[in-house]
């Protein structure tokens, strides 16, 4: 049987651009994983790792024009957005290089013997070591930042783990280009090119998660695909950590006082957030609880005006377009659901943004309206109008886990008056990031970032963005009574590398 071709497709026309590769066979996957496994030693030195990450940045920046052009041809996201995303990707790689150099992620803990402890404590020295080969499943909607050189790859390299990427079929040509750049950067530091494997094809992705030498996986995509891979990871003879970001509704609560104070600004802000990137963000606000009554009406009016003025856009691929249109149609067809601006088919390959409204009480109990509590990828959101705080709370209590939860409060509530202080506590169980008076789109790369949340937002408690993402790919190991001469320098008393650590109970920084 001939290998299945992998085509690069232009979503603006639906036409095949070029054949990029062929789908990986079982043997191809095995070869990629073994090559990655063989490259572990080359990543063992932290200095080499950070230098490699910085070289990758320089080479990605040097290749910018070619990369952005290819990315746009395959994603239709536009060169402005894509240039920004590439800059973000480079910023992220640099941030991880800094994290590698600092070494706090090693979590060094040293205890000297203590006979007063029960039982007595011997000499114990702990730090973290890389898990091994990491499988990365890239996303459609961020061809740079959540793909071949994206967050999972950057954090895995930073941790000392080689990577095999399962390319997203929406941007295979870009995936090959970026992989080539990363391999050139690796070669510059004597790291074998196998440190970054790239495989195409659905079956290859399934093979990858089952491979005995794959030690962990990162995934960004749909609930369906992510859950299937999560299940496969858990069903292995040796189960492995699977860090999957599967889906999120990203609820927003607008308090009565906030709507009364600035209905127009909130409506406009919401329109911007829900239509950004043609609504193709994991953190798009998909359910907005807005008070019934005049202030809420004002917000809906402002949203209507702003969304109505939004240009139609091209979705990432035609299957996504079909799913979007079907999802909107199913939701809009429910009784009492209205569409002040109807989302739907634009020109031949575009879709137009819109939003739906529904009385919040329809969502307060299980039933036909539950589809409104599921993510619908694309430029649509659901505005649920609530009659009372209890009604809003009842809807929030029914939500599955989310990446983000947002509340818009008035100036007085922000100052701690009224129900202000309780709002953060009420939203915390819902999500991994809780925003006040902002919009969830835009996920900053920063030490304090957390991009993850209760299932199905993520399948683990870890983050895919921000400094602590490196923790995904590490495991602790403790050495007991190892003589100084045998210890790695990271664990020596005299701390030759100047690492932050916990030393005999005290934090040293």
């Amino acid at each position: 049987m001939a290998a299945a071709p992998v085509w690069s497709v232009d979503p603006r026309t639906g036409k095949q651009r070029e054949q990029v590769a062929v789908e990986a066979t079982v043997q191809d996957v095995d070869a990629a994983v073994r090559a990655a496994h063989g490259a572990r030693g080359a990543l063992a030195d932290r200095g080499v790792r950070s230098a490699f990450l910085r070289t990758a940045v320089h080479r990605l920046e040097a290749a910018k024009d070619r990369l952005v052009e290819t990315a746009d041809a395959e994603s239709a996201l536009g060169s402005i957005r894509l240039s920004g995303e590439l800059a973000r990707t480079c910023y992220q790689l640099r941030a991880f290089a800094d994290i590698v150099d600092e070494g706090a992620f090693l979590d060094v803990i040293i205890d000297h013997p203590d006979d007063a402890a029960i039982p007595p404590v011997p000499d114990l020295r702990r730090y973290k070591v890389p898990l091994g080969v990491v499988a990365v499943y890239s996303a459609s909607n961020f061809p740079f930042a959540f793909s071949v050189a994206g967050g999972d790859t950057a954090s895995a390299f930073a941790a000392g783990c080689p990577v095999v990427v399962k390319a997203h079929p929406d941007h295979p040509a870009l995936s090959e280009l970026v992989a080539g750049v990363l391999r050139e950067a690796a070669a510059e530091h004597g790291i074998p090119e196998g440190v970054l494997g790239l495989v195409h094809g659905f079956e290859a992705g399934v093979e990858l998660i089952r491979h005995p030498l794959v030690a962990a996986a990162g995934f960004t995509g749909s609930v369906r695909g992510g859950r299937a891979l999560f299940d496969a990871a858990a069903a292995r003879p040796v189960p492995i950590p699977f860090h999957g970001e599967l889906g999120s509704l990203n609820p927003v609560l607008v308090t009565e006082a906030a709507a009364a104070e600035r209905a127009e600004a909130i409506g406009t802000g919401l329109a911007g957030s829900m239509t950004l990137g043609v609504g193709q963000f994991c953190v798009k606000p998909g359910l907005v609880l807005v008070p019934a009554g005049a202030a809420g009406d004002g917000l809906v009016k402002s949203l209507t005006d702003a969304v109505g003025g939004t240009e139609a856009g091209v979705l990432l691929d035609h299957r996504m377009r079909d799913d979007f249109l079907a999802g909107v149609s199913e939701r809009a067809g429910l009784p009492d659901v209205e569409a002040p601006v109807t989302p739907g088919a634009g020109g031949e390959h575009t879709v137009s943004a819109g939003f739906l409204t529904v009385p919040a009480e329809r969502l307060a109990e299980e039933g036909a309206y539950d589809v409104l509590l599921e993510e619908c990828f694309g430029p649509v959101t659901v505005v649920a109008r609530y009659e009372s705080e209890d009604e809003a709370t009842a809807v929030l209590s029914r939500l599955p886990g989310n990446l983000t939860a947002t509340v818009h409060v008035s100036a007085q509530e922000a100052a701690g008056e009224g129900r202000g202080p309780d709002l953060l506590a009420a939203l915390t169980p819902l999500a991994g990031r809780v925003l006040v008076n902002g919009w969830p789109t835009g996920v900053a790369v920063a030490p304090a970032q957390h991009h993850g949340g209760p299932y199905p937002a993520t399948t683990s408690t870890s983050t895919s963005v921000g400094g602590t993402a490196i923790e995904r790919w590490l495991r602790p190991v403790t050495y007991q009574n190892a003589p100084e001469a045998l210890l790695p320098p990271e664990l020596r008393d005299d701390n030759p590398l100047g690492l932050p650590r916990r030393f005999d109970g005290r934090l040293e920084r």
Copy 2:
């Protein structure tokens, strides 16, 4: 149908002591989990949590005589060992109280807005929050330290999580007593008694892992039972973290030089470690690679003398005794396997310690001898005699994951000569704790401890002993642009609680 009775059994006689309880029904499990869920708020304050843990220590110490007597009647482990184990359990609870007070586990990270970042960073403040109700599956072999008031319960309470314990059937009376003490301690601090649920019965354990309000689980036990629960946790509509410690062979490598230097001491030390607690430790050394030749012969002679002089002991229950005898018999029946001291049936309810020898080359490839690479609970170990370093390495490379890996080296190797420096690196992939010139039994409670390892040693990368065990029961959450008035005190700029944190990138302690 009448509820199944739960009996306390004396392993020294096999006779039922008393009926302690009845097995929990589905309704009982549901009630226990809901009561625990309802107690979350009472654990929210860190000061209350640490005070509760300290009160638990005082009350356990006050009840010591009754607790140890009951534990001995159900486990036959003897009052000296059990008094020590209770002291360890109290030490552990106190250690977690200190950890709660210090607050470093909250992992506070604060970033102020930074417009120079790509994309710009808003105000982000991250810390960790408790996951919710934790299910704890207690172990047979540590009636105190890995049971109702054991490590998982202590770390879960410390994290702010209520607990429902599935009691081990080997010590149901003790489980009830300890649960009563913990509830009294809780009541003293206004915490509802539901904060510690206790259920008996195999089916109750399965129900528990499936309950929608259970947020995470800790398990110590067999590969078979642990894997079944791990699979159930992963198969839930909302999967949850399952931290299971399933089994470990705990390999030991004795170098040629070490055997030449101190064959007798190593043989005696090994005898002590493998027979401690009648061989019923997760970290019992189960495979010992000893060089062929005179030095190794000396080691085996010393081991023979020491093990031969060990008294017969009572195992924790009669099923365990049957499994031990069957396991020994299967292993001893293999060609070329010898038993310098034959392990097996002692008196009516006892077993006697012993060990087997085998040429290491039999273990270097897949085959009938693979059973020797599986854990056999009880006082037996396998000494594999190797002809060359390569042969020893080949055996080590075939091992599944372990809690511990140990190497005995000579004084010169310890000083960094010969193969010394490579040995730690070679053993690190095998285990979560690597020991030099020691024995793995005895797991100290300390900040740097790591009790866990590659599967099947544990099903996650976390530890069940030591300060970082608290990380099992937490998830991060980040607040974006939350006004100071709405923030919890832990995340305020002025740091009113004096927490260690990362502040605008800098580590502050």
